[in-house]
Amino acid sequence: MNRHASVLAVGLALICGESISLSARETQSNQFVPETDRWTARLESLHPDNPMGYFELGEEVADLAQNEREHELARRLFSLAGLLDTPRLGRSACLALANIETEIHIKRRLLAMASLLSGTGGGSGAGSGLLSREDEGGFSESTALSVTAAFSYYRRGLGSRALSQLRKPGAEEMLMSLGHLLRGGSARFLEDCKLYNGRVKPTLTDFHLVKMLTIERAILSGPDRSWASELLLSQGRPLIEIESDRLDQVLGVDPSRCIYRGGRWIQP
């Protein structure tokens, strides 16, 4: 009798545990909702008659976004706001998008579009801080001297001194931007600096030596460097162009699909 009760108790316990477990999983699965679902109601309430609604929701989403999908949602909302009411919200939308954009080229494009839409042309700055002459591809002279000094120490096998130069403001960033030109990239260069520390010098072929000297010439020239130096550094990166009347191209969103239903953007 006692044996049967024990087995029954264990079985009951097992069953209860399973139930608890199941209910726990259920609870968890209920908590694990799709990323946009928490905005669904708000999204579905949006209407093209009220472009500001898109913008305001976009701000909320951007503030609380936890993943790339939500960031993308914010971008879409800002873009739709800007396209649905370009005169009032176009510029604000571009600025808001630039604010959350991580890719610097896209950010520049958005800021330039914002300035065009303002009607004042360039020079508004739009708080970019990026649109400075130095960032027009020119490095500061002191940074260039630090990097070239690092090259000198590297060639002499004085790696620690090279690293010391690279700790100066902007120097490591500059080195990173030149990585595609260095043998093995900038990471390899930094590693070599740790290795060649006073006893052994790196062996450089003429080709690599000339390459380093060419890089030095390019960065020492400053913003007015020769075209050869510029092509070396920039690799022929093209100019970004924008048209003020083609906001849709810049934003990359179809404004006709501005109604959110069933998890999709559709036409009204």
Binding site: R108, L116, G122, E136, G137, Q165, E230, L239
Partner: protein
């Protein structure tokens, strides 16, 4: 408190300076300015509500005094050039015109007081001018002053406001000088006397006060006849002048108005030099007096103090006088009262009636018999007049005149006149130049001697360098005066010296240093010649094919430094580079014109240097650029002085007959808002008075103070009148003449090149892309030249494009001309031995120095790594200083071509001290000019110099890309030069970005000159906004170039549609298509090429449009 009447009436204090009283704003005001200022103030005073007061009279007199004071000060002034400034000289006015120098305009012109019309003013002016012309001294400066004053007087009277005021106040115009009875009437008496005899003008009733003042005036020592209903009877002999009496006496003596009395009156008037009008006025005044006073004119009034009338023995006495009375008329005895009274018939009443009758009769007869019919000419030549008051200018500026009034305006144009034609001659034969030229014959031999010394000695002495510098200075000083063959021989021998030194770079550097022209302000005129020659020589050496590469390269670097210093073009012909250098001096000379005592000498030598470089279009360009600089100054060119003298000389030297460049630049001045109309007035006046420019007539003179619209019309007129020279094929003026007329064969060739360029396959290398971009730019360059009718210049450019299109873009890398190569040095012996020995010395300075010297004599031209490292360390941081100096010297002189040594210089640079000695060492080693060692940019520039030197030693100097970029700059500059534009820059661009920016500016200027109803693709402000937004996205110089290129494309499209509106849709298609393609491109050079192609497509469109139009025309 006493109220200052001057303050009330004129707004100035009584104690004010004469200039202030007359409201003359500069002591440079000329005599005519004084005259105008005087009457301006008089009118102002007259118009004041208290203008009739006693105080006003006092103020009036002070104004005259002030005018006289300033005028007399002019007569004693001499200007800087030794010219005297004459004032209005009283005796000359009296001599020529029988008036005072400050007589009112009516008196000055000898006008009747009514009516005063523009026609009568012009007639009177012409009369006076002819009178002046007939005088033996008509060519004098004083006579010119008189002419100017007369013209000023005429201009014043033509202003109705002034005219009315002057008519009202002329009685009070001037205090009258004392006139002694019996004397010939003085300057003021006669016209003013007759003026005083006038009754009040119709409708104007003088105040009692004015009448009283008139009376007071007339009771002065000079007798006057009262006018009007004077409250007092005059009745005294003091009221009649001698002339008045004689007129009366004639009338009485000859029995009234008849043939005899008339002839006697005319003779009398001639003796007293009274004009016919004056005589009329006297007679009229006497009539009025007699009529109004109804009082007896005593015989004594008629006869007192005057010689008796002497009867003409050939003429019978007047029949109305009894024989008895007539027989009692004896010579030299005055008519007595008794005699006149006894005549009986001639009582006052009878005289009054008689005079009343003849007044009317004489008025009718006088004009027919006495007034000559003078021909009136419309060609007025007037001086500058008070600003803005004249109806002519008002009409010009209001734009109310219709186009047909241009002729009238042209006829009414006014020349700026100068006492003598503005020009100058400076010292064009400086003694030192002449002496140097004489010695030039000895220079070939002198240079040959130097060459021999260099061939013998590795390390020549200082004397050799001194000789070199001395002889360079000689040829640079005397080249203008030396003959061409001597110059050529000298230069040839000089080049041999450089060749002899070519294996020693530091030696070359030092020799070439002597060829560097002075920077900064030119201290002496002769330095102009020196700098010109040196610049030309440097440029010549830098492009020699048969000179040692190291010399060419170093000359190039030195030239580059000169180019940077002066902002000259690069890759230009030596002559043009020298001319560019000369042109940079113009600003300095113009700024110094008004104070530099040797200004003319500077200019004279500048002219001679320009002439020696050749008289071609560049010569014209230099002259016109100098003219423009003068026009842009704030100096008043209407005032005689050095600035207008230089302007005059420049105009004399410019070719206004055959040079299309001169025409383009001159016409461009009219478009420039920076050039004042007043200066253009002076310029056109000088052209109109230049006999060599016979086609430039006075009608083409731009009046002072005109607006831009009027300027453009005058410009068009000048353009039409300009003699035939190869016409510009492209006229963009307001949609007129927008046709292109081509040489058909050339255009077909161009179109063919365009089609081939479009169809080329993409390229994969940067050099290929850049070369393709260059080809596209050259294609557009050729079009710009074709448009200007310069087929001969366009052909070689198109040929270059043709050649480029023959092969693949990427296959040309090997064929790009290599830069001059420096042969790198080589080490000798094992590395490290020297280092070991040196380190063992420790601190013994002498031994160190010895070892260093030994290294210099035993080593090669490079060192091994270890030895190089030690030597470099000693050169940078050796102790003591002697060691540092020795090491540095050896490094520079021995190892400057050593790649290993140079790399050590670079690698140890971060630790190198920063001082001038180090800077000099690096400078000598690399051949680069560095800033002062304490300059902020020194470190970067010094390191850059070392890096570039190292790259050269590794055969990686200037890359092929940069050479192609330089060709691109040349192409863009040529496109800009081909545009007719007033926009000129003294600094030639040296980068593609700078060059395209200039091109954008020129196209924008062109676009601004057009009126557009529907702009493409935006209006000009909109295009500018887009440009600014575009520039915000720029990263690096090439992207900046592309951004500007897009702006250029926009402007070319804008202008194309403005000139040919029917092309609007196609132009928009080209722009949109180009943009779509650009957004898909992944390389910045591809973008640049795409834009050039779009611009070429726009040109192609224009050609097609022109052909279509021609076809329609033929049909």
């Amino acid at each position: 408190m006493t109220v200052d009447p001057f303050q009330i009436l004129l707004g100035v204090s009584e104690s004010s300076d004469p200039l202030v009283l007359l409201d003359l704003w500069a002591e440079h005001s000329g005599p005519v300015d004084i005259y105008i200022a005087l009457y301006r103030q008089l009118v102002r005073l007259h118009e004041h509500e208290q203008g009739d007061s006693k105080d006003a009279e006092i103020v009036r007199r002070r104004l005259y005094s002030a005018a006289r004071l300033i005028n007399s000060s002019h007569q004693h002034r001499q200007d800087r050039d030794g010219n005297s400034e004459t004032g209005l000289r009283h005796e000359l006015f009296r001599k020529f015109l029988k008036t005072s120098e400050f007589a009112d305009p009516i008196a000055l012109l000898g006008l009747p007081t009514s009516p005063v019309t523009p026609a009568s003013i012009d007639l009177a002016l012409d009369d006076r001018l002819k009178m002046l012309e007939a005088h033996p001294e008509s060519g004098s400066v004083e006579a010119e002053q008189l002419r100017q004053t007369l013209r000023a007087a005429a201009a014043l009277l033509k202003d109705l406001r002034y005219q009315k005021a002057i008519l009202s106040i002329r009685k009070l115009a001037e205090p009258v000088d004392t006139q002694h009875e019996g004397q010939t009437p003085t300057k003021t008496s006669i016209p003013l006397q007759t003026a005083d005899l006038l009754t009040i003008p119709p409708g104007v009733t003088p105040s009692q006060e004015r009448l009283a003042s008139l009376t007071r005036h007339q009771q002065s020592p000079v007798s006057r006849v009262a006018t009007g209903p004077a409250p007092q009877s005059l009745g005294s002999s003091a009221t009649l002048t001698p002339f008045d009496r004689q007129v009366l006496a004639v009338m009485v003596g000859y029995g009234g108005w008849n043939a005899e009395s008339r002839s006697r009156l005319v003779a009398l008037a001639g003796r007293y030099q009274v004009s016919p009008d004056g005589l009329v006025r006297v007679v009229k005044g006497l009539c009025d007096h007699a009529r109004s006073h109804r009082s007896q004119i005593a015989v004594s009034d008629i006869a007192a103090g005057m010689p008796a009338m002497i009867p003409d023995p050939n003429r019978p006495l007047m029949r109305t006088i009894s024989l008895s009375a007539a027989s009692r008329v004896r010579p030299s005895s005055p008519l007595t009262e008794e005699q006149v009274t006894k005549a009986g018939f001639w009582n006052t009443t009878t005289i009054s009636l008689l005079f009343a009758a003849i007044t009317l009769f004489f008025g009718l007869v006088a004009m027919a018999i006495l007034a000559p019919d003078i021909f009136f000419s419309n060609r007025l030549q007037t001086m500058s007049t008070p600003d803005g008051d004249l109806p002519v200018l008002d009409q010009i500026n209001s734009g109310e005149r219709d186009p047909s009034s241009m002729d009238r305006l042209a006829l009414n144009s006014r020349l700026a006149r100068f006492a003598r034609r503005p020009t100058f001659i400076g010292n064009g034969l400086p003694k030192e130049g002449a002496d140097a030229a004489d010695q030039c014959l000895t220079l070939p031999e002198a240079f040959n001697l130097i060459e021999r010394k260099l061939n013998v000695a590795d390390d020549p002495s200082e004397a050799v360098f001194r000789d070199w510098e001395y002889h360079i200075n000689l040829i640079a000083t005397g080249w203008v005066l030396a003959d061409a063959s001597t110059r050529s021989a000298v230069e040839k021998s000089l080049l041999k010296v450089l060749y002899a030194a070519s294996d020693r770079p530091s030696l070359c550097d030092r020799l070439l240093h002597a060829l560097t022209p002075l920077s900064g302000k030119i201290p002496e005129p002769i330095d102009i010649w020196r700098g010109t020659w040196k610049t030309r020589m440097l440029a010549r050496i830098a492009e020699l094919d048969n000179m040692a590469p190291v010399v060419v390269e170093q000359a190039g670097r030195q030239l580059e430094a000169t180019v940077k210093t002066f902002g000259l073009k690069t890759q230009n012909k030596p002559v043009d580079t020298a001319r560019d250098w000369l042109d940079t001096l113009v600003n300095q000379f113009v700024q110094g014109l008004e104070y530099e005592p040797r200004a003319y000498d500077f200019w004279e030598l500048w002219f001679s240097a320009q002439r020696e470089l050749g008289r071609d279009e560049r010569y014209d360009e230099s002259l016109l650029s100098a003219i423009e600089v003068i026009l842009l100054t704030k100096v008043d060119l209407a005032r005689p002085g050095p600035s207008v003298n230089v302007l005059g000389r420049l105009l004399e030297m410019s070719d206004f007959q055959q040079s299309s460049f001169v025409r383009a630049r001159t016409l461009g001045f009219f478009n420039s808002t920076a050039i004042d109309s007043r200066d253009l007035w002076v310029l056109t006046s000088l052209l109109a008075t230049d006999r060599k420019v016979s086609w430039f007539t006075e009608e083409l003179v731009l009046p002072d103070g005109t607006d831009m619209l009027f300027r453009s019309r005058v410009r068009d007129r000048i353009h039409q009148r300009w003699p035939d020279i190869p016409e510009s094929l492209f006229d963009t003026q307001q949609g007129q003449g927008n046709f292109l007329r081509f040489n058909e064969a050339e255009v077909r060739w161009w179109v063919g090149l365009f089609d081939r360029l479009r169809e080329r396959n993409p390229v994969s290398s940067d050099q290929g892309r850049l070369r393709r971009l260059l080809a596209a730019s050259r294609l557009n360059e050729a079009f710009a030249l074709l448009r200007q009718g310069k087929e001969k210049d366009a052909a070689p450019v198109m040929k270059l494009v043709d050649q480029e299109l023959q092969a693949s873009w990427d296959d040309r890398e090997a064929s790009i001309a290599s830069p001059p190569i420096i042969k790198p040095g080589q080490p000798i012996g094992p590395d490290g031995n020297w280092t070991t020995r040196y380190r063992s010395i420790k601190r013994d300075t002498n031994q160190k120095l010895d070892l260093l010297s030994e290294l210099a004599s035993t080593a090669g031209t490079d060192l091994g790594p270890e030895d190089a490292e030690l030597l470099t360390r000693e050169a940078y941081r050796g102790v003591p200083q002697e060691v540092r100096t020795r090491a540095g010297s050896i490094l520079v002189h021995r190892f400057s071509r050593g790649p290993t040594v140079v790399m050590q210089m670079i690698n140890q640079f971060p630790e190198a001290p920063r001082n001038q000695a180090i800077s000099d060492m690096i400078s000598k080693l690399t051949g680069s000019l560095l800033p002062e060692s304490n300059a902020d940019s020194w470190k970067a520039q010094a390191r850059m110099a070392l890096v570039e030197h190292a790259l050269r030693l590794h055969h990686s100097g200037e890359s092929g890309l940069d050479r192609i970029a330089e060709d691109l700059v040349d192409s863009l500059n040529a496109r800009a030069d081909a545009m007719q534009s007033a926009f000129g820059s003294s600094r030639q661009p040296t980068t593609p970005t700078e060059a395209v920016e200039i091109l954008v500016l020129k196209w924008r200027e062109k676009a601004r000159s057009l009126i557009v109803s529907v702009p493409v693709s935006d209006d000009l402000p909109g295009l500018h906004r887009r440009r600014l937004a575009r520039l915000e996205l720029v990263e690096g110089p090439i992207q900046r170039f592309v951004a500007e290129q897009i702006s250029l494309g926009d402007l070319v499209a804008y202008v194309t549609v403005a000139e040919s509106p029917e092309l609007r849709r196609e132009v928009l298609d080209i722009l949109r298509g180009s943009m779509r393609r650009r957004t898909r491109l992944s390389h910045v050079l591809e973008q640049a090429y795409e834009i050039e192609l779009a611009i070429a497509a726009l040109h192609r469109l224009k050609v097609r449009s022109t052909r279509a139009r021609d076809e329609r025309g033929k049909r």
